[in-house]
C-alpha cells in the first residue's frame, strides 16, 4: 500500500522518469496524489516541462540560433578549401 506514497525527493525522480517513459498506473496515481497536496513539487514539474518546451521550441534550423555564434573566418576558409578539393578532385 505504501509503495505509491512518495516523498518529495522520490517524486522528483518519478516526475523526471515520467517524461521519458510511461510509468505504471500505480506510480502515476502516486504522482497525482502527491501533487495534489504539494505545491513545491507541482512547481518543480511545471518548471521541468517549461525547460523542455523551451528547448524543443528553439529547435530546428532557424531558432537553434540561441547561441549567437558564427563560423570563424579560419574555419570557413578551411571548409571551403576542403570542399574545393572534393568538388574539383571529383571532376
Amino acid at each position: 500500500m505504501r509503495h505509491w506514497i512518495f516523498s518529495c525527493k522520490q517524486i522528483t525522480g518519478k516526475i523526471s522518469e515520467s517524461m521519458d517513459r510511461k510509468l505504471p498506473l500505480l506510480e502515476r496515481m502516486g504522482i497525482r496524489f502527491h501533487l495534489m497536496m504539494c505545491k513545491l513539487c507541482t512547481r518543480y514539474q511545471k518548471q521541468l516541462r517549461f525547460i523542455r518546451e523551451t528547448l524543443r521550441s528553439g529547435d530546428g534550423s532557424k531558432e537553434s540560433s540561441a547561441i549567437s555564434c558564427e563560423l570563424s573566418h579560419e574555419g570557413r576558409k578551411r571548409i571551403k578549401k576542403n570542399l574545393l578539393e572534393e568538388t574539383e578532385g571529383g571532376k
Binding site: C8, R21, Q47, S64, S68, R78, E86
Partner: protein, 192 residues
C-alpha cells in the same frame, strides 16, 4: 526530382547560405568549436556526395540539417567509450543538499513567474540554458541534449551510450535537477 540549377548543387553556395546556421545547430549540441566546424564540413561533403539522393521535396536547409543530425550522432558514438560515469556520480551530492532528512524540499523551487515571452527574453534564456549545460559533466549534457532537443528515445540513447535504461533515467533525472537549479540561480536570479 534532381536539383535543377547548378547553383543549388554547389557546396560552396551551401556553405555561404547555410554555414552559420549549421554551425549554430552543431554548437548547440557539441561543445568543442573545432569539432562543430568539422561537423559542418562533413555535412557539406556528405551532402555533396549524396546530392543525387536529394529529392527536392524539402528545403535545402532541412536536408542539410538532417545530414548534420546524423553526423552529430556519429560524433557522439565515437566519443562515448572515453567518457565514464564517474563524473556523473560526483554530482550526486549536489542533489542531496536539496532535500532534508525527511526527503522534503530544503532548498525550495522558487516561483519563476510568467514564461518569458519576447524573442529577446527567449534568446537570453536559451543562452542561460546553454551556459548551465556547459557546466555539467559532458556525458550528462550529451545524454540530456539528445533526449530533450533531438527527442531521442531512451532506447536510442541507451544503445548509443551502451548503458542500461535505468542508468539513463538516472542521468536524465540528475541533468534535469542540475539544470533547473542552475537556471533558478542564473536566470531567475534567486538570492542565495
Amino acid at each position: 526530382m534532381p536539383l535543377e540549377s547548378k547553383q543549388e548543387n554547389d557546396p560552396l553556395v551551401w556553405l555561404e547560405q547555410h554555414g552559420d546556421s549549421l554551425y549554430r545547430f552543431a554548437r548547440s549540441r557539441v561543445r568543442d568549436s573545432f569539432a562543430a566546424e568539422d561537423l559542418v564540413q562533413e555535412t557539406l561533403l556528405g551532402a555533396y556526395r549524396s546530392r543525387d539522393k536529394f529529392s527536392g521535396q524539402s528545403a535545402v536547409s532541412t536536408w542539410l540539417i538532417g545530414i548534420l543530425k546524423h553526423k552529430i550522432m556519429d560524433y557522439y558514438r565515437k566519443l562515448t567509450p572515453e567518457s565514464g560515469d564517474d563524473t556523473i556520480d560526483e554530482f550526486a551530492y549536489n542533489m542531496d543538499g536539496l532535500f532534508n532528512e525527511k526527503e522534503k524540499w530544503k532548498i525550495k523551487p522558487g516561483d519563476w513567474g510568467g514564461d518569458p515571452k519576447s524573442v529577446y527574453e527567449r534568446k537570453e534564456l536559451m543562452a542561460a540554458i546553454h551556459t548551465c549545460l556547459g557546466e555539467m559533466p559532458e556525458k550528462m549534457s550529451r545524454v540530456y541534449t539528445l533526449r530533450e532537443m533531438e527527442g531521442a528515445t531512451t532506447d536510442e540513447i541507451c544503445k548509443l551510450f551502451q548503458t542500461g535504461k535505468s542508468n539513463c533515467w538516472v542521468i536524465l533525472y540528475r541533468a534535469r535537477m542540475l539544470l533547473r537549479r542552475c537556471l533558478e540561480i542564473s536566470w531567475f536570479g534567486e538570492k542565495e
